[in-house]
């Protein structure tokens, strides 16, 4: 049922989303290898506001399409796009005051933690997407004489271009605020069923009662509105997300993770993570003058056990998955079979295009549950920072391990390569298979132009 609702709302939101995206978001969010953002003026504290959604989505893996994930995406008002794995790269300047607003469309609480940033970890998170709360919400409202009451639990999003979004109406002012959407309270004692009536642009939702109390849930309302052909022309109903917000000052440059801080074993394994890059004031440097680079690549490492992601909803979904593996279920135990770089497995991982003599900054982030050891053939990797701390003694590594939850920055001077070389960068623990088949997994090529 939820999947249907989410599909419906996206159709309506895309038009609204485009304008907002174009206006503000791209400055904050970059793909992995774009050039550094312009720095803020020294001494000026910028506030960067980032709106994220936590939601369901799917990704395609080699020979395995449509794997369900939970992920972060940009929120441009009603959750702008499908959830991605990993979440968007958040790029800010050192010294920025960073505000991250989270809208949670998942069925369970979700928080974000920012390892390496100075803020108290949030173990509570944004409440779940309101699914069954309408009755409670109505009951908590002061009812006066059987009159209509606010539909506080149901957020209704218009499909009409240019109109307002996320509108909630009270029955008393129905029709005056633009969309004419009413949630009408039906007095207990008069048994009735849930009904949606459309007259012009006014939609009236009559809640069901069982004769003594309301029996409609917010889920029911959303489903009924979306199921009504006439109503669906006017609105897309959606459940209101749970919301929370985080504020911190990005004091130090470096490569950081952000990830779920609630129900972490499941939520992180399902994909709720991403990269936060804090840039120093001088473009083209990772930290300071000793870390100058020409090109950078963000490499978010993780892994997927499809048995977790595909665990049947009827059996309780991913939360019912047996991580430890002592249940006797043939799928039991967390055994990843896909190993990902930026959410993709080889051969889907696009080559990273570089030039001879480039100084290439590789920002590794291990968002997975396993440690990963990475090897680059044909060039040295100079380890310059770990967990966003600049090393006093940078060193060259052949095979360096990025522990789970850690980040590592290396710079490779491509001075001993030739145009046409393809340098393999791969997991030396030989997680280079897709469901056991080589080649695949955590492998990418630096393609020397």
């Amino acid at each position: 049922m939820r999947a249907r609702n989410r599909k419906a709302i996206r159709r309506g939101v895309i038009l609204l989303a485009l304008a907002a995206l174009a206006a503000s978001i791209p400055a904050l969010v970059q793909s992995g290898s774009e050039a550094a953002a312009a720095p803020a003026a020294p001494g000026v504290v910028d506030t960067e506001t980032i709106n994220l959604c936590a939601d369901e989505g799917t990704i395609n893996l080699p020979s395995l399409a449509g794997v369900p994930i939970w992920g972060f995406s940009l929120d441009s008002g009603g959750c702008g796009g499908p959830a991605t794995l990993p979440g968007p790269v958040l790029s800010v300047d050192v010294g920025d005051r960073v505000v991250v607003n989270l809208a949670n469309y998942l069925d369970e609480p979700v928080s974000i933690v920012f390892p390496g940033q100075a803020l108290v970890p949030d173990a509570v998170g944004a409440p779940p997407n309101v699914g069954t709360g309408l009755v409670a919400a109505l009951a908590a409202t002061s009812l006066s004489g059987g009159s209509d009451v606010p539909a506080v639990a149901a957020s209704l999003t218009t499909a009409l271009p240019g109109d307002s979004s996320d509108v909630t109406y009270t029955a008393d002012t129905a029709g005056l605020a633009g969309n004419g959407i009413t949630v009408e309270y039906v007095d207990p004692g008069a048994p009735s069923s849930l009904a949606v009536t459309v007259i012009g642009t006014a939609i009236t939702v009559s809640l069901a009662t069982d004769g003594s109390a309301i029996s409609s849930t917010a889920n029911d309302v959303v489903a009924a509105v979306n199921a009504d052909v006439n109503a669906a022309l006017l609105v897309n109903a959606a459940l209101a997300p749970g919301e929370t917000s985080y504020t911190f000052t990005a004091s130090n440059p470096g490569t950081f993770l952000y990830e779920a801080g609630t129900n972490t074993a499941v939520q992180v394994a399902m994909g709720l993570y991403g990269a936060l890059v804090v840039r120093p004031l001088t473009p083209g440097q990772a930290y300071g003058a000793t870390t100058t680079y020409d090109k950078e690549k963000i490499l978010v490492l993780s892994e997927i056990d499809p048995n977790l992601n595909n665990y049947p909803a009827l059996l309780g979904g991913p939360n019912a998955f047996d991580f430890v593996g002592d249940s006797g279920d043939y799928q039991a135990g967390y055994h990843p079979t896909y190993f990902l770089i930026n959410g993709q497995a080889y051969p889907d991982v696009p080559d990273f295009l570089v030039d001879v003599n480039d100084r290439v900054l590789l920002r590794y982030l291990n968002a997975g549950l396993m440690n990963h050891t990475m090897t680059l053939l044909g060039s040295h990797q100079r380890v310059i920072a770990q967990d966003a701390y600049l090393m006093a003694n940078p060193f060259n590594a052949v095979a360096e391990t990025i522990p789970s939850g850690s980040t590592l920055d290396t710079i490779s001077g491509l001075f001993h390569v030739n145009s046409g070389d393809r340098l393999p960068l791969y997991n030396r623990q030989l997680n280079v298979t897709n469901d056991g088949l080589y080649p695949g997994g955590m492998m990418i090529f630096l393609d020397v132009q």
């Binding site: 079979t337 060193f395 095979a399 001993h416 623990q429 997680n431 469901d435």
Partner: protein
Amino acid sequence: MVTSMTRRTRLGLLLAALGVFAVAAVAVPRSAAPLPAGALPCTTGPTFNLQARTGRISTPDGASMFMWGFAKNPGAFQMPGPILCVTEDVPITINLTNSNIPEPVSIVFPGQTGVVAAGGSPGLFTQEVAMGGGTVSYTFTPSEPGTYLYESGSDLSKQIQMGLYGALIVRPAGFPSRAYADVSTAFDPAREYLILVHDMDPDLHRAVERNEPYDVTQKHDRYWTINGRSFPDTIAGDGVAYLPAQPYGALVRVKPYNATTNPLPALIRMANAGMSNHPLHPHGNHVQVIAQDGQLVGPGTSRSSEQFTRTAASGQTFDMLFKWTNAENWTSTHPVPVTLPLLRNLVFKDKVTWYSGSPYLGTKSTLPPGTVSFNRCGEYYYPWHSHALNEFQNFDEGFGGLATLLRVDPPNKTALQCPGP
């Protein structure tokens, strides 16, 4: 304790350790053609002719494992591949043929730059050679001293696991008895050791032998090796006759440090060709880690450190200097400051031990009746082992697997008085 041990895995455990954790092993092998004690059995270039071929290794519990490996050409199958010792800045060529492995093979050289591959056919990482498909040549100039791996660059998750790996040692130009050009890395050339570790799931090897499918993501290791051998075979000498395909021992053998007569440390070169990370624990001792992945970290920089457990990640190498210092100088006139246990209270697992019966270096003493000791001249033994203790066994039978011994010889005994493996 495990009760169902085969004879060769039986080990004696001295329960009254007195600071010397004594582990005993049985079946001291007779060396057929022993190499000089401690000298690394190098294969030198600058041109190396190698072949990839199938073969078998034996494990201490009496099993054998089907392997793919690099061998000299011409030459018999061996595990691991030959220890290639070369000199910095001297160009080298490795010619590879594929004798009987039913898929294309290749070699990559992690940590090297400018490798030019010629011949064969193009593969994902480099030029490959199919069975009977001629020769592929890899040419490069190793520009930095250190310890490196060479390994398959084809079908990695199968071929490296099947055994297509070896060690490449690059010596600094002009300083063959230093690990690096830096004078602080000088070592005793007779005390240079390789600890090249690997992990094996027999199901993988059986599946490859039978041409059956195997899902490497389900790999469940049962055997762990140093230089292609599992403990206690690791402490046998180089080239022993009963391990014809596993020519390299791993017994680390030193004499106490002495500023005049024994000033130089041993050099331990550790490399991990396996899929898992392995922590090596020099029991009761510290090693000084001087380099990682062929990059000097000290002395002289703050990253050099003494460690009593060093984890090598997959594909990673470490160089370690080791000196054993007789700090307390215990003798019968300067006795150990604890009460020695009574003979009748000592229990030796399986009634065998390497313990001398005495806590004093160079002294042999009484052991309980019926106990067999393999101690030669009152030397000390310490286990060096994987502290991931599940790896300290051979298919669930301990002790075994990723382990070897440190043997400390008495300073005042001759080689004749104190024979080695």
